[in-house]
Amino acid sequence: MNLKIRRAQNKMFEFLFILALSIAMLVLLVLLVQIVIDALPRLSMQFVTSFPSSEPSEAGIYPALIGTLYVIGIMTPIAFFIGTGAAIYLEEFSKKNALNSFIQLNIRTLAGVPSIVYGILGLTIFVRGAEFGASLISGAFTMTLLVLPIIIVAAQEAIRAVPRARREAALALGATKWQTVARAVLPSAVPGILTGMILAVSRAIGETAPLIMIGAFTFVAFLPESLTDSFTVLPIQFFNWIARPQDEYHELAASGILILLLVLISLNITAVWLRNKYQKRI
């Protein structure tokens, strides 16, 4: 092929690639714009602090917001400790045997199991089996199981990215295995683990289907007071509103979505910032 043609080919495809990327970006833009347009009429402080109501002009997201915060608040520490612990075990202490490679494979595939299946699991185990009912704790536990693989995988990757050399350095100074992990490996892996946590939390905030499965789909007009109280979360509230025919409700949904998106985007930005800050260092 002669050079001119090769050059032209190069240019043409560059254009096509940019085009594709622009489409993706455009979709995001359209989505945001659409939601902002829908949301603006309803957005107010009162919207955040009110209970849902059959009167769209008075309805708000207060209990859903609190429910979401509770679920996240319960889930995060549990998931963090179990997830990081599992990751440390797999990366640092597990021997090469069938059980451990099965655990490894298992975690990877769990990450790909549809969330609704976790919902079924939560429904059977926590709601029915443990008789927690459609309560906060059922929701938080279900979410914990759902995000665990994400956290474990992220933490494993963060731990694995710590160079072998650093472990050897500590061991060669006479550190025990645990000292090596705790003092030389984990400090370097923390940013990566945190990034994974943030992504997991933002995933959990947006998840709808599993909570629907465990029965959080109720019109809740009060705040949960104990772990076993029933609750709702933001996405379910939106689902509820979307399902109604009146446009007012759709605007309510859009307003809620906008708030949710703002929270998620700021979480994501934090994660990206963390990653960029520590990427070079590791």
């Binding site: 050399a165 350095a169 500590a170 100074l173 006479g174 030389a184």
Partner: protein, 252 residues
């Protein structure tokens, strides 16, 4: 010569691969620099890492025979591996400071072993850095990240870190091969100074470095220790033909 290291019938296997074959060294001299040379894969690193039992960490590796340091066989059941490693510092091919401040890098080892008093740590940090000929270059930035200094300085930092736990032996596995020639010379000179206090064993794939910087040299080939002699002897009149063809570059 005080307490040399004695190696007695040392064999190392990786699974079924026989990586070191019946290594025998009457006396690997203390307070001197011993260089280990040989073609890639001949077992130099393996040998070095058996001395501080870092090879214990390699799954499937197996050691048999004796390494006697201070009259104790370090592969004895009774031996505490961590205490052993504390006594035997190690410096690696790539400088590998922890992502901490220069100060904390040096203090890492002492802290592990229970030193907590600030004044004591300060003292250790200063004296280690001085010994590693790095104090003057970093004394004003002890709180800075260890990555913010050059590669050669990082390697000296790693030496200081090893020194900080007061070892008797220093192992260096191609410690200069990632460095530029000038940093390399600095590290070699540092080793010359340190040998009055430490027994130094260095693996190098650079024969000229072995010739330049060591007092004794061991030549490994296919897991065997072909020859162990003074550096002068080995490089001017090797006893074994294989050594001769290797050092004169006629090997392959």
């Amino acid at each position: 010569m005080e307490k040399a290291i004695r190696i007695d019938g040392l064999n190392v296997y990786y699974e079924t691969f026989h990586a070191l074959k019946n290594i025998q060294i009457e006396a690997l001299p203390a307070r001197a620099i011993t260089a280990l040379i040989g073609p890639s894969g001949c077992g130099k690193s393996t040998f070095l890492r058996t001395i501080n039992r870092m090879n214990d960490l390699v799954p499937g590796s197996r050691v048999d025979g004796k390494i006697i340091i201070n009259g104790v066989d370090i592969y004895d059941q009774q031996v505490d591996v961590e205490a052993l490693r504390k006594k035997i510092g190690m410096v690696f091919q790539q400088p590998n400071p922890f992502p901490k401040s220069i100060y904390d890098n040096i203090a890492f080892g002492p802290r592990l072993h229970g030193v907590t008093k600030k004044s004591e740590l300060d003292e250790i940090v200063e004296s280690s850095l001085r010994q590693a000929a790095l104090w003057d270059e970093v004394k004003d930035k002890l709180k800075k990240m260890a990555y913010d200094i050059s590669g050669g300085q990082q390697q000296r930092l790693c030496i200081a870190r090893a020194i900080a736990v007061n070892p008797e032996i220093l192992l260096m596995d191609e410690a200069t091969s990632a460095l530029d020639p000038i940093s390399t010379i600095k590290i070699e000179e540092l080793a010359q100074e340190l040998k009055s206090k430490y027994t130094i064993i260095m693996v190098t794939h650079n024969m000229h470095q072995a010739a330049r910087a060591s007092d004794h040299t061991g030549f490994f080939l296919n897991g065997e220790l072909v020859e162990f002699a003074t550096t002068e002897q080995l490089f001017s009149n090797p006893g074994d033909e294989r050594t001769e063809s290797y050092i004169t570059g006629r090997f392959g």
